[in-house]
Symmetry: C2
Subunit: 334 residues, 2 copies
């Protein structure tokens, strides 16, 4: 059924008033969205930006340029509307939900904030597993449950967690079998010394958890709560045939774990951008996803997904609103 629909979508695109393939990657995007939503006339409705936040015990080892306090401060900023993802979500009419998956500081309940706290930050992965298997399973279940309660047919992934580019690098190295040095970047802005130290710490963490080779074992070993919650969100959204818009390195690492469990999930994904974090390029390649944008972003939050969003809308409108050669009376190629 999917193959027949894909053929009909391709025929519809080829019959629009433009040379065959002239809208390039936008046509591939239209094909993908149409296939996910199961229609030749896709309409993206009530898109949801889900920003999962959590703290990392490993941050105490100096793997980030920023202190852990920035996690809760940025959650406040998301909710106050002053962060990049808040501004961009507002621009594009994306509903913003922030999930406290385990930030080190408690929040007062308020609109837009969903509390699914596992603990006040993960344990230090350089001393033992970041999460227990139970915590990991609970975080995944939380992600599933949060998505189940959200309306719409598109989910944009976002995250916040000082230290979480370390989790992403460790997951990429372990699950894709790549050297940790290649997977590790400056994150939010380490200098050369800081980056060298981060690489050293991550090598140590990887060795400590040499036996954690299964996807969920690796996830529990390296964390974090926000990554595991996103894994659940991806699994649920894929099962419900939502269009999943993947942001940067950390969101992509959640997709990596999800696809190690269910390989089909990547068919529901659109990679928003290729970030400046070197591991992200390797990770997208491993997932077989081609990014839409390449703007040297290295912010996370879901900012890249929000920036790419209008392209998804455009792809749908091309299918729905462009004239065909026949309807417009335009001559075909000679």
């Amino acid at each position: 059924a999917d193959a027949a629909l894909a053929a009909r979508l391709q025929a519809a695109l080829d019959n629009k008033t433009k040379p065959v393939g002239a809208l390039g990657r936008l046509e591939a995007l239209a094909l993908r969205i149409g296939t996910i939503l199961g229609t030749e006339q896709p309409v993206l409705g009530a898109p949801q930006m889900l920003v999962c936040a959590g703290d990392h015990g490993l941050a105490a080892r100096g793997v980030s340029a920023y202190p852990s306090d920035v996690t809760w401060q940025m959650v406040e900023n998301f909710l106050a509307g002053g962060a990049a993802v808040s501004v961009l979500a507002r621009q594009h009419g994306l509903a913003l939900t922030v999930v406290d998956c385990g930030v080190r500081r408690d929040f007062q309940p308020r609109p837009g904030l969903v509390s699914r706290r596992i603990a006040a930050g993960t344990a230090d992965a350089s001393a033992g597993p970041a999460m227990t298997p139970e915590q990991c399973a609970q975080a995944i279940a939380n992600g599933r449950e949060v998505v189940r309660a959200l309306p719409g047919n598109a989910l944009l992934l976002g995250e916040m967690g000082i230290g979480n580019s370390s989790s992403a690098a460790l997951l990429l190295s372990r699950l894709a079998g790549l050297d940790i040095g290649l997977c590790t970047g400056a994150g939010t802005g380490l200098d050369a010394d800081g980056l060298a130290r981060k690489r050293e710490v991550l090598r140590e963490v990887l060795a400590l958890h040499a036996g954690a080779t299964a996807p969920l074992e690796a996830l529990a070993a390296f964390g974090g709560f926000e990554v595991a919650t996103l894994v659940g969100a991806v699994l649920q959204a894929a099962q419900e045939r939502r269009v999943i818009v993947v942001d940067g390195f950390i969101a992509s690492a959640a997709v990596l774990v999800a696809q190690a469990i269910r390989p089909q999930v990547t068919q529901r994904c659109v990679a928003a951008h290729s970030s400046a974090e070197p591991g992200h390029t390797l990770l997208l390649k491993h997932l077989g996803l081609e990014p839409l944008l390449n703007l040297d972003l290295r912010l996370g939050e879901g900012s890249g997904g929000a920036l790419a969003w209008p392209l998804l809308e455009s792809a749908c409108r091309i299918l729905r609103e462009m004239a065909s050669f026949e309807s417009a009376g335009v001559s075909r190629q000679q």
Copy 2:
């Protein structure tokens, strides 16, 4: 004054709640738009998509995969709302104006169509100059006058004209001193034989007009009316400090001619995308413009400019709406 403003814009960007530079090329875009509009709080208002259309005598030599009739047919399609640029302009609230600069067929007057016809298509550039010096000057004056009458502070360039990728290739070769073979691509979709024939014809045209080395002489020699009208539009928009959004190969060729006359115009330009047409990459490099998107588009019309438009909006909103570290109470880098 511009340097002081640029410094204030950079300081404002660096003080937003994100690591310095973490929004990558979006920050450079914000800096450029703020500098063009002369403010730290840029607002893009009443953006205008200007699609200039004209026919080419050289098309009779088989340099395009489509017949010349497609020019007027697509003008009808633009006005009926069924073309890619119509759909995308509607999506983003861009006012669409189509200018008949010299299409081979007459149009009935109607809303959205501006008639600034020079003639029913240019002369065959392989037999003589495509335009007389007077026609060329008139088309440039038309472009200036059309833009003067348009509201807003942003102009998006679009075009339609079967055969105009030949004009663009010839202008690039002549004005940038590049081999015509490198500048020539498949346009809307020539096959290998067609491309070889196009290269041969263009080499012949270039030799015939070996003396046309000054920008306006080259423009008159190679055409077309829509390119010359766009040259005038670019000169006028730059002078009025509008943000000029440059689409693909043909729109960029108009900027090439304009900057050969007034080098400062590129400072008012944003390159929307890098097209699949090989000469476009060379042309943008020559102009010193970095494209925002790279989606293998090869349609023209202004479609790439329309697709990139939301990024310009985002860049302005980042400046206007994002919180600073102080206002949000977020800790800085350690």
